[in-house]
């Protein structure tokens, strides 16, 4: 864990609190005004770094990934950067259907190349292969050679592992009679292996069989489409579904006599029988090839069908990626919208919180050498002794902001550390251009006293400057630093600590007020007002460091 850090709590966490819990919380609110506990399990789901947050201008609220809705703008192949129409994605699945392939071993992109790398012999060598430039896998490993470097998908559809063309299935019609009588004959096992090697064909056979059975048993079933699929969009289908759940009392009663459906009984219908000797070949292969011959879980997950061995792995088209826009869950306004063009990395709209709320940074205010005090070590903070830290807030807005900071007197958790913000109320200047400020009328300039503080004093307090209550430590064009004093509780060395119990996290409530310039935002036409008072409040967590144990620190 790197110290210090700052996380911001998204208020959407409050909305998702259960009703019963909310009533209880309301009672507690009167007592302690809803203290934020960064150690509660719920807080883990609401704290985000500032860079991960968005800001809704209409709601004027922070938006985290949980309170935004994502919409897909376009689908594209990461390899060829070709945008795939949605209709193609729906029909052919979320993989690139062009000539892009990923290595089944290491997932690097495969390149189409000649077999012979020798340039002199290259001209005469016709077959093409797909080869991986990283792990050197090629389609020769599974016996695939291609006649041309175009229409690879179509050429692959004609091949199966081993390089043999896919045979037309010869199915025995009287196989049903021999079911259960013993192991299959040679012709039968050929048919079975044909289905085993081609799972698509096996699925198509079973699908067509059951579609025909369903249509035969109930020809007027509104749930079925002509292709055998389910049709949920028509009102009659919905009525049928309702009747299933209401005991056939909904709508028209079924008066027809339904015929019984039978199961698959023949291999052409998709029947597959598992014999005790079916796995013998696989077991034998496991023994001979060992661990290296078995496909890893990640390699198997990439495949479309079950592939136990490395030899069964096929090159797959790369998974398509999406460009997504984000909307506010409350008002549905767009927060992020990337450009439609795949090659572009620009955004049309991007309302990141970084441009709307101040960045908070924290650094230790080291005591001056004359004070003869130990330096502040963020990995072992000295207990029972006040340590001072500089909290700097930097304003990204073009308007000056009034900030109020509040912390609990004692931090929540097993060890209560005392926290005091020496200057809880202060102003931060606007984020105007430095040249504007220099050429302007000087209204936004800070007092000369504040500007006169030297960098030496700021960095180490060597000038003997003491932080005073109610006064800011330092102020710049669009930033202000205030001092926070912490007195850490004692942790005995003998004490066994759970994970990160000794981390000092300060929950801090930030409330900012400012007058937004409507003229600049282009909203002044409606009411005729030029300024609008705005307010934003949220909880942050400042991770300061680890508290050192008492004995170790004193020694």
């Amino acid at each position: 864990m790197n110290f210090p850090y700052t996380y911001i709590s998204c208020p959407c966490n409050d909305v998702s609190t259960p009703v019963n819990a909310r009533i209880q919380i309301q009672d507690d609110e009167e007592e302690q005004e809803r203290m934020f506990d960064p150690r509660s399990p719920r807080a883990g789901f609401s704290l985000y770094p500032l860079e991960h947050l968005l800001y809704c201008e209409d709601c004027q609220q922070i938006r985290c990934p949980r309170c935004t809705i994502e919409e897909i703008v376009c689908w594209y192949c990461p390899s060829c950067l070709f945008e795939m129409p949605l209709s193609v994605v729906k029909s052919e699945g979320p993989r690139c259907s062009r000539n892009c392939f990923d290595c089944p071993i290491c997932t690097s992109p495969l390149a189409t190349s000649f077999i012979n790398p020798d340039p002199e012999e290259r001209a005469v060598s016709e077959p093409w292969i797909l080869s991986c430039g990283y792990c050197n896998w090629s389609t020769l490993d599974i016996g695939w050679r291609f006649e041309s470097n175009k229409n690879m998908h179509q050429q692959m559809a004609k091949l199966k592992v081993g390089g043999r063309p896919r045979s037309t299935r010869v199915m025995p019609t009287d196989f049903a009679k021999s079911v259960g009588s013993g192991p299959p004959s040679e012709t039968e096992s050929t048919s079975l292996s044909a289905l085993d090697n081609d799972p698509d064909a096996a699925f198509a056979a079973v699908r067509s069989f059951y579609s025909s059975q369903l249509s035969a048993s109930n020809p007027s079933d509104p749930l079925l489409t002509p292709s055998g699929g389910y049709n949920y969009s028509s009102p009659s289908s919905l009525a049928r579904i309702m009747s299933l759940y209401t005991g056939r009392s909904f709508g028209k009663k079924d008066t027809g006599k339904s015929t019984l459906m039978r199961e698959t009984a023949e291999i052409p219908e998709g029947l597959r029988i598992v014999y005790p000797t079916s796995d013998d070949e696989a077991v034998k292969k496991l023994r001979t090839e060992g661990w290296t011959g078995i496909a890893s879980v990640a390699q198997q997950a990439e495949q479309r069908h079950v592939s136990r061995f490395v030899d069964d792995l096929r090159p797959m088209g790369p998974l398509l990626r999406t460009k997504r826009s984000k909307r506010c869950r409350a008002c549905r306004h767009l927060l992020v919208r990337p450009e439609q063009k795949v090659q572009s990395t620009r955004f049309r709209i991007r309302l990141v919180a970084l441009n709307y709320i101040p960045t908070i940074s924290l650094k230790p205010l080291q005591p001056s050498p004359s004070a003869e005090l130990p330096l502040i070590d963020l990995k072992a903070l000295t207990p029972l002794r006040p340590s001072q830290f500089l909290v700097t807030l930097k304003n990204p807005l073009f308007d000056a902001v009034k900030v109020t900071l509040a912390t609990p007197v004692q931090t929540p958790g097993k060890y209560s550390h005392k926290v005091t913000v020496l200057c809880p109320e202060f102003d931060i200047g606007s984020n105007v251009d430095q040249w504007d400020e220099a050429l302007g009328d000087g209204k936004s300039r800070r007092s000369s006293k504040l500007f006169s503080i030297s960098k030496v004093e700021y960095a180490g307090g060597e000038g003997g400057r003491i932080a005073e209550a109610g006064k800011v430590w330092e102020k710049g064009r669009n930033w202000t630093s205030v001092v926070v004093e912490v007195a850490c509780a004692a942790i005995a060395e003998s004490e066994e600590l759970e994970d990160d119990v000794d981390v000092l996290e300060i929950p801090m409530f930030v409330r900012m007020e400012w007058e937004a310039d409507l003229e600049r935002e282009g909203k002044d036409e409606a009411k005729g007002e030029k300024k609008e008072k705005r307010e934003l409040a949220y909880w942050t967590v400042l991770g300061v460091g680890r508290v050192g144990k008492l004995d170790a620190a004193s020694s």
Binding site: I115, P117, D118, Y134, N136, W137, D141, S296
Partner: protein
């Protein structure tokens, strides 16, 4: 346009101890390559040592076979004292070995026509077989053995044994020879 690196048959380093160097007239060593140490460094014929490559023989001898390419900023040789007899024998590269940029080879021996890709690290006492490939960034620990015709890839150092008789058996040899010819033509203009 960058100037062609000047060529020399000996190390350019003057401050560090100069090792006994055995090379042939066809060996090309860049002027900015460094050969340091006290043990013997043997460079085979037609081998090329490129710019800022480091051959360190402080803790053991280095033997580079014929037609090897040691690319820019690659490091060959033991960087710490050997722990056993196997490591004390130093580093031996067989013929046609390609060591790519920033690779660190401390291994005992590298087989013929093996490619050690950019940033790969071969630990002390490791034996890498012939016609193998250690992919970019892969780290092989000390004392490991990589068989012939093996590709070591991925962050976990996964291994894949290459099949023989697929028509790609000579591919690596052709690739290294092509690179060696191209580099030689670039450097010498012949």
């Amino acid at each position: 346009m960058t100037a062609r690196p000047s060529l020399t048959n000996h190390s350019s380093t003057s401050k560090l101890p100069t090792p006994p160097l055995s090379s042939t007239p066809t060996t090309l060593i860049s002027a900015s390559a460094s050969c340091t140490g006290t043990h013997l460094i043997t460079l085979g014929s037609k081998s090329i040592v490129q710019l800022r490559a480091r051959l360190t023989s402080n803790y053991g001898p280095i033997s580079v076979g014929d037609g090897c390419i040691i690319s820019e900023r690659a490091s060959i040789g033991l960087l710490s004292s050997p722990q056993n007899e196997k490591e004390a024998k130093g580093v031996r590269l067989s013929s046609g070995v390609l060591i790519e940029t920033c690779a660190v080879v401390q291994g005992a021996s590298i087989g013929a026509y093996t490619i050690i890709e950019a940033g790969a690290k071969i630990g002390k006492g490791t034996v890498v077989g012939a016609n193998s490939k250690v992919c970019a960034g892969v780290e092989i620990g000390e004392g490991m053995v990589v068989d012939d015709n093996t590709v070591v890839y991925g962050s976990g150092g996964e291994r894949r044994k290459e099949k023989k008789g697929l028509g790609l058996d000579r591919a690596r040899k052709v690739w290294v020879d092509l690179q060696e010819d191209t580099l030689r033509r670039m450097w010498t203009g012949k």
